[in-house]
Structures are given as C-alpha cells and as structure tokens.
Symmetry: C2
Subunit: 364 residues, 2 copies
C-alpha cells in the first residue's frame, strides 16, 4: 500500500493522506476508527456502485466497531443536482446525522463531488472520506478538494473547496469498471504525464498491454505517480488561484466538446481530443516539436481514446463555447499549451482564426 500526504497551506483545511493499494478496504476501518470524535459514518453511493460493492464495503466496515449506514441515489450525472442533494440531506436527517457524523463518498466523480458538497454545507460542515471507485475519480476528482453540483445554467456552478479527511484508493474496484470508464481515467493519467512527468509517459508507452489488462501492481505504481502529480499541484494552489490551471490541459476544448455533444462524448474522451487539439495548437504556434505532438497522439490512440473532433459538431458553436464573454468579441478562454512534454504554459492570446482553423483541421 502506498501513502501520499497532501499538505495544504492553511491551518483550517487539515492535511490528509491518500492510501493506495489492492484490497485495502479492511484497513479503511482501522483508519476511520482513529477519528474518535466521529461516532458514526454514513456512506453515500449511487445505485450502480451500491449493487456492485455496497454490501461488501458495509460488511467489511461494520464489524470494526463502526456504526455504518448507507444511502444511495440513482446513478448518472443527471443526479448531480440540488434535488438529489436535498433528498440525501433528508436521508441524513432521518438517520439522525449530526456534527459528529462523517460522510463517506463511495463511487465515481458524481458521488465524490456531490457528497463532498453536502459534507461541506450540511450543518456548516461534516468530516468526509473519499473511496473513489472509478479510475477517473481515483487519479483526479477525489484529489484536490473541489466539490460541486450542476444547475440548469451550468455544470459545477454550485460548489466549495472542501478537503476530505482521507482518500482510500482500492484497486479492486477497477476490476468491475467498464472499458469506457477505465479509458476515461487513463485520459487524466496521460494528462498528468504530459504536463508534469515524461517518465510516467514512458512507463505507459512500455506497458500498454499490461495497463489495458489492468494488472494491479502496475496500476498501483501508475496511479500513485499520477496522484502525486495532482497533489503537488493542488498543494501549491489549493484554491485555483493560477498555477492549478495547468490541470486544465486538454479541458478548454474538452469542456466545449462535452457540452456541444449534449454530453454524449464522455469527459475522458473529450479531454483526450482536447489534448490532441492543445498539442496541435502548440505545434502550429511553434512551441512544441511535431515529435512530441505525435507521441501524445499515439498514446491516446493506443489507449483507444478518440483523437479527432466529430464532424457533426459545428465549429461556430464550439467557438462560441470557447468565448469567455458572449458580448465581447475575441474574448476567448485561455488555452494551456506545451513548450515540450512536462512544460505547460497558459496562453490567452491565440487568434480566433488559428483556433478555428485548428478545429477544422482536427475534424474527422
């Protein structure tokens, strides 16, 4: 089992540990029990994860002197809203939750984001733990303290920065993950390698087949590396003041693709295309070598992630989604570009023409 300590530059947000390993659920009980001012734990999960893992997690934790309850909500991003949150709060009230109750988010990004949000606002803040079950949640959304829910006007528009007490990354959950979901997570791991760690990219290139087979020892190594990169960036910029924006590599166009496709393109797929796009833009502007751009594109293809913009997405519509201020012309969202692999930077000065042409060039 690996441990990563996240040390935040503040006294109020206590620092916390990320525990990574295979079949570590039984150890979670011991670790949870350490917080002796917490007298009960309530797991929040979605219907799908509940069916797959709910009973096993509860059965493992219950004998360990822990008072455990579990509540669930319908699986899917559509549940990540204020109505579901209020229903979960009602469930918490009915179970008699108080300030000595800790919440446990068991699931993917939706569960983690929403549970963290509820934990941050219910009775002005309950402690919470993350048990991410998807690769995407394990290497990305469970780390960094961003919580949130969607409102009709946009995704994650209500949320907080709120850190968990601990994150438990158990690799056994990955065995039941559909390929699409697994590949979504790989997109974020690739991103971490591209912006910070050429070595991680090399490991991935050398072990493509073993990664695809989800070989636990290898995954443990890769996930640990990936988490370490994310946590280092989060430590330097807890509240997203500036530096943390490099984590948005691939996300500028990615978000536009997700939204414009009506979310039929998944987040990981959108980020994969967005990364190819950002690399192509970087090459076009003479920052990045074509070798580096090709290397990124090859890895994305090797992991069966998309690398082209679907032809049916309208360029004008995408451009409009890339605009910061709908009323101002030329006010485009800044892009994260690359000077080389491991060296990202923010560029807000790219001309509309180049952005448009590069979108067109990447259509397939």
């Amino acid at each position: 089992m690996n441990q990563i300590k996240v040390q935040l530059d503040s006294r109020t947000s206590a620092s916390y540990k990320i525990h990574i390993g295979l079949d570590i659920i039984d150890r979670i009980g011991v670790l949870l029990n350490k917080g002796n001012w917490i007298n009960r734990h309530i797991i929040i999960t979605d219907s799908r994860v509940n069916t797959l893992h709910g009973e096993r997690v509860v059965d493992t934790l219950r004998p360990m002197d822990l008072k455990i309850d579990l509540i669930d909500f319908p699986a899917g991003e559509a549940s990540k809203n204020i109505q579901t949150s209020l229903r979960l709060v009602e469930n918490l009230m009915a179970l008699g939750a108080d300030r000595h109750t800790a919440l446990i988010a068991l699931g993917g990004g939706v569960t983690g984001d929403m549970t963290g949000f509820i934990a941050s606002i219910f009775m002005r803040g309950l402690p919470f733990f993350q048990i991410p079950t998807t690769l995407m949640a394990q290497v990305d959304s469970s780390i960094g303290g961003k919580t949130g829910i969607d409102i009709p006007a946009g995704k994650n528009l209500l949320g907080t920065f709120y850190q968990p007490q601990a994150v438990f990354i158990d690799l056994s959950f990955l065995q039941t993950l559909p390929d699409l979901e697994f590949n979504n997570g790989l997109a974020e791991i690739l991103k971490h390698g591209i912006i910070e760690d050429p070595q991680l990219l090399t490991s991935l290139e050398e072990e493509i087949q073993a990664v695809k087979k989800r070989e636990p020892k290898l995954l443990e190594k890769i996930i640990t590396k990936s988490c370490r990169i994310k946590k280092r960036i989060v430590e330097m910029d807890e509240k997203e003041g500036g530096l943390r924006r490099i984590l948005n590599f691939g996300h500028t166009l990615g978000h536009a693709l997700e939204a414009e496709s009506g979310y039929t393109i998944s987040h990981g797929q959108a980020v994969a295309i967005g990364m190819v796009y950002a690399a192509t833009l970087s090459e076009k502007l003479n920052y990045l070598s074509s070798m580096d751009r090709e290397r990124i594109e090859s890895l994305i293809k090797a992991f069966e992630l998309p690398h082209r913009i679907p032809r049916d997405l309208d360029t004008k519509a995408l451009m409009s989604r890339l605009t910061k201020d709908k009323k101002k012309e030329g006010a485009l969202i800044p892009f994260i570009l690359l000077k080389k692999i491991g060296l990202p930077f923010i560029n807000g000065e790219i001309s509309d023409t180049i952005i448009r042409e590069t979108i067109e060039a990447l259509k397939a």
Copy 2:
C-alpha cells in the same frame, strides 16, 4: 468611525475589518475599490430594505468607479431557503457574475446569512461584503462568518463558515428600524455585556433613555463594544469547536421558544426570555447571586423586552425541544449558565426536574 480588525487563526480565511460609524456609506466605495482584482459588485437585499435604502446605496457607490448592480428577494425569514437562493444564483448568472464579482449583503440577518451562503458556494466561492442594516445583524449575525439557509427539517441546516472581506456598520440605517427590530438587537448587546463585559451593562443602565432614542454617538460606542466582544470570541473559536458556545447564552431555551411559538416570538424576544431563564437557573443552582439575576431581569424589562415565558406554550413540548436525542431520556442540550456577570460556563448536567420547574416558575 471605529475599526475593529478580526484576525482569524488560519491563512485561508483572510482577516478582515469591521468599520463602524454614522453615514459611512460614501467611504464604503473607497474601501471596496481597494480590492482591485474585483471588477464588479452585486448587492443582494430584500424588498423592504431595497425600498428604504437600495437607491441611496447604489447612488452613493456607483459614481466611485464601481460597477454596481442590485438584486432583491421578498423580505422575511420565509425567503431564507434553497428556492430563493437558486433564484438569486440565476439572477447572478444573468448579470454575468464570475469569480471576479463580489457580493454585498445589504440587510438584516436573513440577507446576510443567505448572501454569505450563496457567496460561499457559487462558483466555489466569491468574495463578499456585509452591510448590515438591523441592530441584530450589526452586533451579531454579520460577525463570525456563519452563513446558512433553512430547510423544512430545520433552520440553518445548510450553511458554511465563510468570512466576509469586510463589514460596514452604518448607524444611519438604524433610524428607520421598527422598535421591535431595534429591541431585538438590544437583546444580543445585553447578552454580550452579560457574558463578557459588566462595564457595557453599566453603560446601558446609565443611558437607557439615550439608547432608546438611538442617539448615534452612544450607539456607535455600544455597538463597537459589542462587536469587539463577539469578534474576540470568534477569533478564539472560528469553527465553533467549544468556547464559542458561550455566545449561546439565553439561546438554549430561546430557540425552543421561537420554534414552539411557530416563530411568532422573535429571535431577540426569545433570547431575552432565555437569558432571564438561564439567570434564574443559575441562581437556583447557587451559582449566581440574586442581585445579578435581578440586574439582568431589570435591564431586559427596561428595554421593553419580554422576561416571562408565555403561558400558552406547553412545558412538555418545550422540554422535548430541549432534548438532544429524542430517543434517549435525559439527554438535554447543555445550558450556558453564569457564575457572575462576565463569567459564563457550560453545564450539561442539570436535572430534568429543575429545568421543568424553572420553566413553570417563569410562566406568565
């Protein structure tokens, strides 16, 4: 103008200043302008305060190079809910609010609590300023960073600890305040004197008529003292770990009275009765002298606040509201008692019998 600096024991919640004086709105503009990364301000207020003061505040601030907008919601505690909050968020979106937008809460406790809550969760946190317009908000709810909204299951069940950038207490707002509201605020000032500052009580005793006439110079002095007491307690215990509970003096029974009366008893009135009750309990248990208890009761009467429990409130129902855990007998909420004026302590060991008898004894 007086200034009080609130220094919180954390690097994330920046410390901030409370500015107190008569007609200081024009200075607010200058102070707001200092935060130069904020490029616009949106005032949130209720319909009543908007009618009375909205135009004046906007007209004062707008010429000062500030981009100011104002949105309002129907006045009253009934508005302090998630529906109103979501509507206000929609209004913010429509105005194009982003992370460089600051919110200004202009109004009483409802406006301050709800605006603070929205500021804390919209786009993971916008800066916000407090311009409290009621005496209660000026000396109590605007200081301490507690935000919140009500849900059907209870008051303030959703909320955060979120500190404002600054608080501006302008005494001119007090001139239009109904007597009932003004007296509500006096109850909290009395509380601050009782738990921390016998000198403040003496000033109040000596100047009863001038206080009632709302003489600005005197009010400035009293409000400043009162704010200083609250801020000192908040500084020592930002997140309500323990010490801050002494601010609940008079509130244990007070909350039960408010709820049991269906909120026909106002918060200040309920706290006034609750303080007489806590003092009586303290005397009965031989902690407090009868002289001190009488002094408290006299001041409450002098400021035309109630000092007896309405006869029509059922003792059994009140007792049940004082119980922490409905399933456990004898699990009563702890009371804040007094050893003398200025010396409060927490006592969770009082027998049901004494609590019940004292309720009966104070009925009128």
